[in-house]
C-alpha cells in the first residue's frame, strides 16, 4: 500500500458551542457514521478562533483544520460568524501563498443538522486524504 491510501489524517475541529457542537452531539445520538479523524475543541463562537490557533496547529503538523459555526444569520452572538468568515478569508489568502490553504475549512452546521455534520466530517476527511500528510509534520527545521 502506498503512503496515501494508508494515511489516516489528524484533523482539528473548532466547533461553536451553540450550533455545530450541538450538531455533532445530534450526529452522535442519531448514530450517524462518520470518520473518526477529527479531534474536537469546543469554542463559544466561530469568531473565538484566532487564526493563529489554526496556524499553530498547521506548523505543528496537523493535517487539516475545520472551523464550524452557526449558519449566517443564526449566530448566537448575532454577527460572530460573519466576523469569523472575514478572518478565514484573510487567513486563506496567506495560507495560499504557503501552500497550506486547502487544509483549512470553514463550514456552517446548525444544531439540527446532525446528518450534515457527519457529511461535513466525511467530506473534510476525504479532501485531506487526497492531499496527503501535512509536509510540516516531518520537517523540524523551522
Amino acid at each position: 500500500m502506498d503512503e496515501k491510501s494508508d494515511f489516516e489524517p489528524r484533523i482539528l475541529g473548532f466547533l461553536c458551542n451553540w450550533c455545530s457542537y450541538a450538531g455533532a452531539d445530534l450526529a452522535g445520538v442519531s448514530r450517524f457514521q462518520y470518520p473518526p479523524n477529527v479531534r474536537i475543541i469546543r469554542v463559544m463562537c466561530s469568531s473565538r478562533v484566532d487564526p493563529m490557533y489554526i496556524v499553530k496547529a498547521l506548523t505543528d503538523g496537523i493535517d487539516g483544520v475545520l472551523v464550524a459555526g452557526c449558519h449566517p444569520g443564526d449566530c448566537h452572538y448575532i454577527e460572530g460568524n460573519y466576523r469569523a468568515r472575514r478572518r478565514m478569508v484573510a487567513l486563506d489568502q496567506i495560507l495560499e501563498r504557503y501552500g497550506l490553504k486547502d487544509r483549512v475549512f470553514l463550514e456552517w452546521v446548525s444544531a439540527s443538522e446532525g446528518k450534515r455534520f457527519a457529511e461535513v466530517i466525511t467530506h473534510v476527511t476525504e479532501e485531506i486524504k487526497k492531499l496527503g500528510p501535512n509536509p510540516h509534520k516531518k520537517k523540524w527545521e523551522i
Binding site: 487564526p51 493563529m52 496556524v55 499553530k56 498547521l58 506548523t59 505543528d60 449566517p72 444569520g73 454577527e79 460573519y82 466576523r83 468568515r85 472575514r86 478572518r87 478569508v89 484573510a90 487567513l91 489568502q93 496567506i94 495560499e96 501563498r97 504557503y98 501552500g99 509536509p135 510540516h136 520537517k139 523540524w140 527545521e141 523551522i142
Partner: protein, 342 residues
C-alpha cells in the same frame, strides 16, 4: 481644501507658527547635526534652524513611537508610509489623533542613513545616490501623502512645493500665496507608480515561488533567531503583550524539554514559522509596506517581499488600502451579510 505655493525654506515658518501659537508643544522632524541628519523632537522654536524636513531618510517607522501617545500635543513630519501607519493605528485605537497633527509630503524614496551619508539634501545630491534607495521605496505604491492634516506636494510642482490642508486654522497668521500643482502632476505620479509596480511584480513572483514549497519556506526563514526585532519595529504590530511574550509563547528551558519530548526533538529557537505566520495573519490587513521589519532584521531575512505579497493579497480582497483614509473602517471589524458565500 486650501492649497498654497511655498518654498522648502518657508516650511520652517509653518512649524514655528505651530509652536509659537501653542497649537503644539513639539514637532517631530529631521535636523542636520555635526554627524549627519537625525530624527528629533523640537520644543524650542529657536532650535528649528537647520531642520531638513524633506531629507529622504528612513531608519525606522516613527509611527511606532506614537503608539499610546499621551495628552501632549505634537506635530509630526513623516513619510507617507509612516503617515499611513499613524492612520491605521488611529483605527486600531492606539493613537489619539486629537493630540497629533500629521504633516506628510510626496516621497521619491528614502535612504537608510547607515548606508548613505547625507551631506546635502539638494536634488542633485540625492539623484546621485539613487541606486542606494531602500528596497521598500523601489516597490512603493503609495508615495504621496494619505489623508493627513497638512500634505506637501513636490511631484508635478514647478519650482518649490505646494501645501494642501483643510485645517486652515493651522496656518493662521502666515501670509501664504495660493497656488496649485501643475496639470501634469497625475501623469508624473503615474510614471513613477508604473515603474514601482513593475518592480513589485518581479519581487512578488520571486517570493511566491519560494513560499510555494515547504523547502522554500524553510530556506527563507531558516536563519531567523527569533530576536523579535521585526515585531518590535513594526508600527502595526501593536499588542501591549504579545502572545510570544506570554508563558505559552515564550518557552523557557523546561518548557522546551516538554515540547521536545512530544516528537523527541525540538528545533531551537522554537516556533519560527509559527511566529512569522502569526505576524502575517495579524499584520497583513494593516501592513503599510514600509520595510522597517526587514531592515531591523539582524539575520538579513528578506521579509519585505513576503509582506508585499501578503499585504496586497489580503487588503485587495477587502478592497482596502491600509492607512489611506482615517474613517474607512478596518476590514476585519466590519462585514456584509452577503459576501464570501461559497
Amino acid at each position: 481644501m486650501a492649497t498654497y505655493k511655498i518654498q522648502e525654506k518657508e516650511l520652517q515658518s509653518v512649524f514655528e507658527n505651530l509652536l509659537k501659537k501653542n497649537i503644539v508643544e513639539g514637532i517631530m522632524v529631521q535636523k542636520k547635526g555635526e554627524h549627519g541628519i537625525f530624527p528629533v523632537l523640537i520644543t524650542d522654536p529657536d532650535l528649528l534652524e537647520g531642520i531638513t524636513p524633506s531629507a529622504p531618510l528612513f531608519s525606522f517607522n516613527r509611527a511606532v513611537l506614537l503608539q499610546n501617545n499621551g495628552c501632549r500635543k505634537l506635530a509630526v513630519v513623516v513619510n507617507p508610509c509612516e503617515a499611513r501607519a499613524i492612520n491605521e493605528l488611529k483605527k486600531l485605537n492606539q493613537i489619539d489623533m486629537d493630540n497629533l497633527i500629521v504633516i506628510s509630503g510626496d516621497c521619491l524614496g528614502t535612504f537608510d542613513p547607515k548606508d548613505v551619508q547625507m551631506d546635502s539634501t539638494s536634488p542633485e545630491n540625492i539623484a546621485e545616490k539613487k541606486s542606494e534607495l531602500r528596497t521598500a521605496c523601489t516597490v512603493c505604491e503609495h508615495f504621496t501623502p494619505p489623508e493627513v492634516d497638512i500634505a506637501i506636494y513636490g511631484i508635478g510642482v514647478d519650482g518649490g512645493l505646494v501645501l494642501s490642508t483643510d485645517r486652515e486654522e493651522l496656518l493662521e497668521g502666515l501670509s501664504l500665496t495660493p497656488g496649485e500643482p501643475s496639470a501634469n502632476r497625475d501623469a508624473e505620479i503615474k510614471k513613477i507608480l508604473d515603474e514601482h509596480l513593475a518592480a513589485k511584480e518581479k519581487m512578488v513572483s520571486g517570493i511566491s515561488e519560494t513560499l510555494s514549497t515547504t523547502d522554500g519556506t524553510i530556506e527563507l526563514f531558516k536563519h531567523c533567531i527569533r530576536c523579535d526585532n521585526c515585531r518590535d519595529v513594526c508600527p502595526i504590530c501593536y499588542c501591549k503583550v504579545c502572545y510570544f511574550q506570554t508563558p505559552l509563547g515564550d518557552l523557557k528551558t523546561d518548557d522546551m524539554v516538554n515540547q521536545a519530548s512530544i516528537k523527541g526533538l525540538l528545533r531551537i529557537p522554537p516556533d519560527i514559522l509559527f511566529y512569522h505566520l502569526t505576524r502575517n495573519i495579524h499584520v497583513a490587513p494593516g501592513c503599510v509596506e514600509c520595510g522597517a521589519c526587514e531592515e531591523a532584521c539582524p539575520r538579513d531575512i528578506p521579509l519585505l517581499p513576503v509582506w508585499k505579497a501578503l499585504a496586497s493579497d489580503v487588503q485587495s480582497i477587502f478592497d482596502y488600502i491600509a492607512g489611506m483614509e482615517k474613517e474607512v473602517p478596518l476590514p476585519l471589524v466590519q462585514f456584509k451579510e452577503d459576501e464570501f458565500e461559497d
